[in-house]
């Protein structure tokens, strides 16, 4: 310090006395830094834009799936049609098919329209009944069979309007398109408008979409996600229960106990490779081992969960090992130095510190598993399932669907009404993922609060 101030007196000519600095390109360094920063901002902006675009497109397509057009009217449950024997015996009454109920509904709707003074001029009775979902007779039949006492009474009955009418109120169907459409006519649309004016036709929240089962190609208005949500939930529970303990145990063994030799090196390489195996291969494996060899049922959540467990295990193991490695060795030494056994050192001190990392890895693995479609197609989860699986544990073996497969399934169907359903299902899937991440964050906080 003193030397510099001594040799460089204050003054204008001190530039001359000072040794000339080599040009090390300070300006260029700053320019490079700014360029890099601009690139980074650009990359992040593109990513954010893509995400926003994706969200907007899914939400704009899919939010309408949560709203639905309903028709409500009075139905007189004629005992002469529904219970010919007159003894209210459900077994007897079950002989009346949905066709019988369909005819009943047709008459009831026409009668109720007349009673409310809604004009039906120039519209055939078949077209009037065509406003109702094809699901309606079955709904009524189920309701009557569940409660035979209803026969003979007049009940108010609420059912889905057919997909085209629903589409009319969501902007998918217009008068012009209806004129060209064999499934709906402009007259039906104007009738729907009049019914809406009379309060018989309403648009409301669609609980059936979240809790109902899937429906066939011909009745998109009745298609729901209930079974898929349940199937996915069952699978996630099973995957968590199977993969977390297995993954942690395997990681602890490999990281803390296994000797370092060729064999463990081989295992390590293979685990890393396994994480990169295309998921459909796991589906083939599952089909061969769990269904063909072990004889487990097709389409069952338990098989899906086994396959997804195989798929997520490498992810969990890699994350867990990294988390264990990140725990400073001094903690292990401290525990060992005080007379803890290796097990105690790991379970009391290392594992709690590694837990946030392990949980993050597990949730990432689970999120992957939740969105996985290909392996589930191969083990038959793509089947059309109408019956809800039972409660666990039996339900794990009942046929079920899965959310991503349901999305795939609906995008394959011809009726345009399924487009919004597929997007709606994606929204549900995203909500699931969001919830899982939330749980991960909360758990991580919990563990980190214990410092």
């Amino acid at each position: 310090m003193t030397e510099i101030s001594a040799s460089a007196p204050v003054g204008t000519d001190n530039d001359a006395t000072r040794p000339k600095r080599r040009d090390i390109g300070i300006k260029r360094r700053y320019a490079a830094e700014n360029r890099f920063r601009a690139l980074g901002i650009g990359a992040v902006s593109i990513a954010v834009l893509a995400l926003v675009f994706l969200l907007i497109s899914i939400l704009s397509n899919g939010l309408s799936a949560f709203r639905q057009t309903f028709v409500a009217f009075d139905v007189t449950l004629d005992a002469a049609v529904l219970d010919k024997a007159g003894n209210r015996d459900p077994a007897e009454m079950a002989k009346v098919t949905t066709i019988g109920y369909g005819n009943l509904l047709k008459k009831a709707l026409a009668a109720d329209l007349e009673a409310r003074g809604v004009s039906t001029e120039g519209i055939s009775s078949k077209e009037i009944a065509g406003l109702l979902s094809k699901e309606a007779p079955a709904q009524l039949r189920n309701r009557v069979l569940a409660d035979p006492g209803l026969v003979g009474q007049t009940i108010s009955f609420k059912t889905y309007a057919t997909g085209r009418i629903d589409g009319y109120y969501k902007g998918r169907v217009t008068m012009e398109s209806a004129a060209l459409d064999s499934n709906v006519s402009p007259e039906q649309l104007t009738l729907a408008d009049r019914m809406r004016g009379a309060g018989m036709l309403t648009v409301g929240f669609n609980t059936g979409f979240l809790f109902g089962p899937d429906a066939s190609e011909l009745r998109p208005e009745a298609a729901g996600l209930g079974i898929a949500i349940l199937g996915s939930a069952y699978m996630m529970i099973l995957v968590l229960v199977m993969s977390l303990p297995l993954g942690i145990a395997a990681s602890i063994y490999l990281e803390e106990f296994a000797p370092q030799n060729r064999f463990t090196d081989l295992i390590e390489v293979n685990i890393n490779n396994l994480a990169a195996v295309p998921s459909i291969v796991f589906g083939l494996l599952g089909l061969a081992i769990f269904i063909n060899f072990a004889g487990l049922p097709q389409s069952a959540p338990v098989v899906g969960a086994l396959v997804l467990t195989l798929m997520t295990l490498p992810t969990i193991i890699i994350a867990t090992r990294a988390a264990l490695k990140a725990v400073p060795p001094s903690i292990r030494e401290a525990a060992l130095g005080i007379g803890a056994s290796k097990m105690q050192a790991i379970f009391h001190h290392v594992l709690p510190l590694a837990m946030p990392g392990i949980l993050t890895g597990t949730i990432i693995g689970l999120a992957q598993a939740l969105g996985e479609t290909a392996p589930l197609l191969l083990i038959g989860m793509v089947a059309f399932v109408r019956d809800f699986p039972a409660a666990p544990p039996e339900g794990f073996f009942d046929p079920a669907a899965a959310l991503p497969v349901q999305v795939y399934n609906w995008t394959q169907r011809a009726d345009p009404a399924f487009v919004e359903r597929a997007s709606g299902a994606i929204i549900v899937l995203l909500v699931f993922l969001f919830l899982m991440n939330l749980i991960a964050i909360v758990l991580r906080r919990q563990f980190e609060r214990r410092w």
Partner: protein, 274 residues
């Protein structure tokens, strides 16, 4: 290595004893050799650790002080490639004998490390952990007594008495190190090994720890590795000088620093190398 050279090395391995052996021998080691894989880190170390006194291990870095220290509570067992030969006895009992349980051994021979390494738990739990796993406390109040008395012995209690349930990692470096000492004391060891316990501490914290070591000497046999000769002179009664894996000279601390017998010891303590 030629025969002549080997002979010369053999010569070098002879330890100079400046002064008598300790009166009461706590730990007795003979012909201790340690290998990391094919590399030998210690050559035939013969050293006795006296009871209720402080033995300092000094020497240039890499000379094997930590390695020797870690033999005394078998911490070297945790290193896969490490192999220990020779005889190491605690109160006449071979600690490498198959009948010895390493968990019990480490309760009798505690250790404090170079970098303070409290557990990621509360101050209380840090100290209570050892007594818990060794079943030393019959009841909750017993445990509390042990924790408090250990913290008191480590001279930390007054500073932390109002925040026993806050994280141990939140203390200052010097406090953390004293917490680690309290943790070691809590299992009631006979010997405490300290590997450069002050190297990560500032001078004031160092002074406190040194003071503490001096107090602990009344109840425990202490072996301390240090790279500071002043520290060795201040806290220890006996000093052992290691060089290149060889125990060169051992004796009374006063004698060692005023009148070293071996040329290498003299060079080291006068600062000619190290």
């Amino acid at each position: 290595m030629s025969v002549a050279e080997a002979e010369k090395t053999r010569e070098r391995w002879q330890t100079v004893m400046s002064g008598p052996a300790p009166e009461h021998i706590k730990m007795h080691t003979r012909d201790v050799c340690v290998f990391y894989g094919a590399k030998q880190a210690l050559f035939d170390v013969d050293l006795d650790i006296g009871e209720r006194e402080v033995t300092a291990l000094i020497g240039p870095s890499g000379c094997g002080k930590s390695t020797y220290l870690r033999c005394l509570n078998r911490m070297n067992d945790t290193i896969d490639i490490c192999r220990v030969t020779g005889k190491i006895e605690l109160e006449g009992e071979d600690i490498y004998a198959p009948s010895i349980d390493v968990v019990e051994l480490r309760a009798r021979v505690g250790m404090v490390f170079q970098k303070p390494n409290p557990f990621a738990k509360s101050i209380f739990d840090n100290v209570a952990y050892g007594p818990r796993i060794h079943g030393l406390a019959g009841s909750k109040s017993d445990l509390e007594d042990i924790v408090v008395s250990s913290l008191k012995k480590a001279g930390l209690y007054n500073e932390v008495s109002d925040r026993l349930h806050e994280p141990g990692t939140g203390l200052s470096g010097g406090q953390q190190q004293r917490l680690c000492i309290a943790r070691a004391i809590a299992v009631n060891p006979e010997v405490i090994l300290m590997d450069e316990p002050c190297s990560a501490l500032d001078p004031i914290a160092t002074a406190k720890v040194e003071e503490l070591i001096d107090e602990l000497r009344e109840n425990y046999s202490i072996v301390i590795v240090t790279h500071s000769m002043q520290q060795a002179a201040r806290v220890s009664q006996r000093t052992a000088f290691f060089h290149l894996g060889i125990l060169v000279e051992v004796g009374d601390t006063d004698r060692m620093f005023t009148n070293p017998q071996d040329q290498r010891t003299q060079d080291y303590i006068t600062g000619r190398f190290g």
